[in-house]
Subunit: 254 residues, 2 copies
């Protein structure tokens, strides 16, 4: 048994465009994959609108509760980019122009012949005490303050920022999984699977019907950070599925 503590996270997706349906979010899935790969348990996601009060309330609700908070969206140069303001308010700190951020942006602007103006300088406003998260794509940095990591909403930038912060994060016990396919419905395996779940409380068992497949098909996914227990539980689930296949006169799918 390892004694490493569990590392948890929440994601805050900030933006009216997600809530209106205009933009279809892909950052939730990317963050979920990122966390799973690092052994960080993503426990909650919230999508909130571009309203300072809503962002502050959501931030304060999750930052006390989890090891890490990630946010995406709202760090561009326009009036609706208010994430930095909301984070500064949540932490009760000032939001000055950050010299390092300004230098990063001005270097990029010089290279591209881009005019420096007040709107663009909004992107150099960083809450006092925060560290910058570099943005290899468009230079405008994200930042980390306390356990909150503020990143861009544009997926390609967001993923590059996740890569940038990965080495700075505590990683948890890696959760391993086994997937077992059953050629019978969820309702057939539901009873015996529930009984096995009760025997293996440390192995989380999920059941996912495969709709639209040619035949009835259910994927059973077992997850645990204890490999021996996972293997043992998976063997029991495989036996159970084989019994149900035999009862139904089905040749196993693979």
């Amino acid at each position: 048994m390892t004694t490493k503590l569990s590392i948890t996270a929440a994601l805050l997706v900030i933006g009216d465009e997600i809530l209106s349906g205009r933009t279809k979010d892909v950052n939730i899935g990317a963050t979920a994959d990122f966390c799973t790969d690092l052994g960080i348990e993503l426990k909650e996601v919230r999508v909130v609108s571009d309203e300072t009060d809503d962002i502050v309330a959501a931030l304060n609700a999750v930052r006390e509760r989890y090891t890490y908070v990630f946010t995406t969206g709202g760090i561009g140069p326009t009036h609706d980019d208010i994430t930095a303001d909301a984070v500064a308010r949540a932490f009760s700190v000032a939001l000055p122009i950050n010299a390092e951020a300004r230098a990063m942006l001005e270097t990029r602007w010089q290279n591209t012949g881009t005019e420096v103006n007040e709107a663009r300088l909004r992107m150099a406003r960083i809450p006092e005490g925060a560290d910058l998260i570099v943005n290899a794509v468009s230079a405008a940095p994200g930042f980390r303050i306390g356990n909150v990591h503020v990143m861009a909403g544009v997926p390609i930038i967001m993923r590059s920022m996740l890569e940038a912060i990965a080495p700075t994060l505590q990683t948890g016990r890696k959760v391993m999984s086994e997937t077992i396919k059953a050629a019978v419905g969820e309702g057939t395996v539901g009873g015996p699977l529930g009984a096995l779940q009760a025997q293996y409380p440390d192995v989380k068992m999920g059941s996912y019907p495969q709709m639209g497949a040619n035949k009835v098909m259910t994927e059973l996914v077992l997850r645990s950070s204890d490999e021996a227990r996972l293997r043992e539980a998976a063997a029991k689930v495989r036996e159970m599925v084989a019994r149900e296949h035999a009862k139904a006169g089905i040749t196993p799918p693979e």
Copy 2:
């Protein structure tokens, strides 16, 4: 001016498979589009794990606050399908086998030669006082209790349930939008757009950089339920964009 009240909603996406990254959610985008089409403002989305306490807490946090709550996921036949239990607990009501739900399921099971068992009958457990939401795809119904609409997580079923409840929902003032393309960066239009936003507080102006496009491109999206004000503001934004194009010596993109 119309005096129709604004109709709001929250969506609760329930399921470990979304938080682990195993399943990439598409119900958020579908619900956002659905709400926008009906003039319902989707104000918040939360993704929570398959833990009864977490579901109850999230439900109670949002159901007081918005006109409607929609949930997806966790209404199947296996032990990890606990949404009905959580909703019953949030509303402090019992969770008996519902005769109408049982009849719907048994009719389907007779037609498909499916055995009735305890796991399958879990899907007929409906909180006392709830109305059923029919499921044309796989028969297992969702339900509505108070302002909470409990739907399946499988996208095709979820969308059919949204269609089923649409006629029962109050619709709000339809929000119209205009999209204006600028061939300059967000940082260029940011200042003048902010000034126009201040002049038109009733027209919500968003700015979205188009990354990966061949040239720099920014989409400005104006949204309002007041058509005249929307048209007026859009004309002003178009003039502003034309000025910025002229300054930059750019021929407008379309």
